[in-house]
Symmetry: C2
Subunit: 525 residues, 2 copies
């Protein structure tokens, strides 16, 4: 019904005033709409109005990007490049290859992989071809890629944009289009070795990006399931109780318990027992203690998870990262496809975004770049069953991986850059070729080409007779460190006046030695 | 009607055999379809069939990427990275910044920019929000970005994927999802200086990529229009005659003339006069000669274009690139938005793809990555009016730019890599940490972490007790040059056996000196 009503309103907008009455009548169709749907319809109508011509009868455009998306300006791109370089260096240090997949997949490739969140998938219009959807994450396309190419062993990273029709909270670095930055190890290996490497990678990246103190929570799907079983949670309530536990980082225990008992119908006793376990945090010692726990040790699953947890911690000790890793029984990541160890990295003190709008308090965790909660900047785990969902014979390829919450990291780095006195350069230009006198454009172009040919990053103003001051100001504004100044005298003498923009020192350098001198000066800085 | 028929067939596919008769009856609806539409419908039906369950009643998937798209495997990614690095270095050498825009835009942002090719735009499904389309190129989003942010001066590059619902000819490196690689200079400057820099950039990139000999054709929209005017082409036929001239690189003059006269109703005399002009090629001399041409010099527009062409060549001489640049009156690029100089770079001898399918002979130029013809690898021109289309007050920002046809370059580089004896490495790992004996996993992990912490790119096999041969084979397969071998004796002596994989030389290196030794050896190679 709602869509009929919308179609009618849309039609009305294109017509003149005499249709006002049927238009108003059609509003009864709109009763089922949410506030956000109404906002979107209003935006669509305004868009249409603009297309039909504004009040002045002129054709105008709505000049904006699509809801929940943004452009990156050169400064943001400079920061983005720096962050990517740090992350990619780490992935390469660990011997990873990279792949790329298309931005859209057959709709059915994504079907049945994301549970309730499937409603957030962007579909393409049926224009007479295959039914397509924009990718929702990089993990499902990765699993499709492995199954399609019958690959059973790979260590790969993939950095690309994914799409979710979520209600964006852009002030917190959450968008409908955002980067994911995934590292995964696929293959049948001895337990916990690749899992430990994933944690080592998170540790290295967060340390190198210098985002402040952090810790990495670790748990295991099997420990969670075993815990639910011994606490008396009925089998069919594991998933829903698990998603309630997942809220413990945002809600106090009392509220979580309330939701379990009142909304989800769990017995008070079961909830209290869960409450005891989920308050536990520790390291290898906790895993050892829980293996002796009279109740939990009754669960085979839990014991398998706890034994692996001990093994994991022994490898983490060898990797020297246990100072930041916490075995935390309250960690319960949302995604259905995890089968073993799960983890999440949290910054201890996040720089707060300027205006945390209260409206976004109702935002679902799903909209987040890595499916992680507020303050968390990386997450992942083991998913041994996903590739098998794509294989015609159901052959499994065990996988473990991590996704870096890159959008939140960008936001933090941008804030740091704004607070810092240091200016972010958006170009790498080493020298501006300038002149102090008129009619030297040709000489400037010739020298610039000489520098380009020698591999020097050089600029020249595209004006016949720019003022020297204009040329120097361009250097100040864009951070170019050197100016090569040409004049009649310099041309006669076969030299160039090389000026240091910061110190204003000038020296004559012979044309033959100019390239070497520029290289020397810019490698120093 | 066709869509009703399709809906019916789609429905039938989901039902059982007893519906065979109405299904066949509905085929009369299909009469208006093209072969390609039928192919797509068949694909859709097979997809649906698979979803419903195959003959064995099991749920299976169609394991493929969307039509016209592809995954990049690690080897392709390694080649792609190399090409991008060369191109980005060049853009940075010329002082360019970079920006990024979302993969989709408001539908109306793209409306009215691409003429007939608009039918190739991918629309997103209306899921209750704004009407969105996938970007078709990077130029229109760039113009939108400039108008939206009131930017009047920028030199930027943008490398990203764009989308066209074309009939892909994938053997020739043409896809529905493909990269564009654009460099543009926006701003009010003295004539032809930024234009000359764009040509210099094409020259540098094609030289550095070492794709074989090439030349760059140059012409000017105003010269074309002036030529049409003085040859007696009616004003309203300029665009359509222009698009016929554009076919001269694929068709002989006789066929082009035929199309002008028989299909487009031009007089034989006018066509013959055009024929004389479009056979002309030269350099600055040709521009000078044509400025004296009794007919062409009657056109103010043509004279303005020819005067600028002379100026352009004088700058190209200073940039030392005239050996590859040809003023060619037959060059007539398709896009409507060009207002001045246009250019296109063509490889002289392209490596031919394995199977040039005859079916793609009808392929429109539009499907090409840079809108360029077969053999061409870069193209662009001046578009002074596009930004004004987005500005509410119509304020113009003059622009000139170039798009590198990166997909074709990838294809050529891939073929070169296949023909070459040298193996393409997909990782950068410098050393594998191995052991010759059992029970040394912990020692291997510890040493690997030491190397990672020192910035060495290191791998270790995820097995408790891998065979030495397996470890050495992994190095051979992936091109890892060094192996650091641990054994009981080495541990006792505080050394590591460092093996050169190629020469099989082994030397003991003290643990303290290992990092330096690896760095020394891998910087040499």
């Amino acid at each position: 019904m709602a869509s009929l009503g919308l179609a009618c309103v849309r039609l009305c907008a294109g017509l003149t005033g005499r249709h006002a009455v049927p238009c108003l009548r059609s509003l009864r169709y709109l009763s089922g709409m949410t506030v956000s749907q109404i906002d979107e319809e209003v935006a669509k109508l305004l868009q249409l109005k603009a297309q039909l011509g504004g009040d002045d009868g002129k054709h105008t455009f709505v000049l904006k990007t699509a809801k929940g998306t943004r452009d990156y300006n050169p400064k943001q791109m400079a920061i983005r490049e720096k962050v990517f370089n740090t992350i990619i260096s780490c992935f390469k240090r660990h011997g990873a290859e990279t792949i790329d997949t298309p931005v859209f997949e057959l709709k059915e490739t994504l079907t049945g992989k994301y549970g309730e969140d499937s409603k957030l998938i962007y579909d393409l219009k049926d224009q007479g071809g295959e039914l397509l959807s924009l990718r929702y994450d990089l993990t499902v396309p990765f699993a499709r890629y492995l199954a399609m190419n019958k690959i059973t062993n790979i260590k790969r990273y993939h950095i690309a944009k994914v799409y979710r029709r979520d209600n964006p909270a852009m002030t917190r670095g959450r968008y409908r289009e955002f980067y994911q930055c995934d590292f995964d190890i696929a293959g049948q290996y001895d337990p916990m070795i690749p899992d430990a490497e994933c944690l080592k990678i998170v540790y290295e990246i967060l340390s190198e990006l210098d985002l402040g103190d952090f810790h990495i929570k670790v748990n295991d799907r099997r420990i969670l399931d075993g815990m639910f079983a011994v606490c008396g949670v009925p089998d069919d309530k594991f998933r829903t109780i698990c998603s309630t536990v997942d809220k413990l980082d945002k809600m106090p225990w009392e509220e979580v318990k309330n939701e379990m008992v009142k909304e989800k119908g769990l017995s008070e006793e079961a909830a209290d027992q869960i409450g005891e376990y989920v308050s536990m945090q520790g390291g290898m010692d906790l895993a050892e203690r829980l293996l002796q726990d009279p109740k939990l040790s009754q669960s085979k699953q839990a014991c398998a998870g706890l034994t692996d947890m001990k093994q994991l911690f022994s490898y983490l000790q060898l990797f020297q990262v246990t100072d930041k890793v916490v075995f935390d029984l309250s960690l319960a990541r949302g995604l259905d496809y995890y089968t073993g160890v799960i983890y999440e990295a949290v910054l201890c003190q996040t720089l707060q975004p300027p205006t945390p709008a209260p409206a976004e308090q109702n935002g679902a965790v799903s909209g987040d770049e890595a499916g992680v909660s507020v303050g968390s900047v990386a997450g992942g785990g083991r998913y041994d069953g996903l590739v098998g969902m794509f294989d015609p014979k159901g052959r499994k390829v065990p996988c473990v991986g991590v996704s870096i919450g890159i959008e939140r990291i960008f936001s933090i780095m941008e804030q740091k850059a704004e607070l810092s006195a240091e200016k972010v350069r958006t170009t790498e230009t080493q020298v501006l070729v300038a002149s102090a006198q008129k009619n030297l454009l040709e000489e400037r172009l010739k020298l610039t080409a000489e520098l380009w040919n020698a591999g020097i990053k050089a600029e020249v103003l595209y004006k016949k007779n720019p003022k020297l001051l204009t040329q120097l100001q361009h250097c100040e504004e864009t951070g170019i460190p050197l100016v090569a100044i040409l004049g009649e005298q310099e041309l006669k003498d076969g030299v160039v006046k090389l000026r240091n923009v910061a110190t204003r020192d000038e020296v004559d350098v012979s044309r033959a030695e100019l390239v070497e001198e520029i290289k020397k000066r810019t490698s120093e800085s």
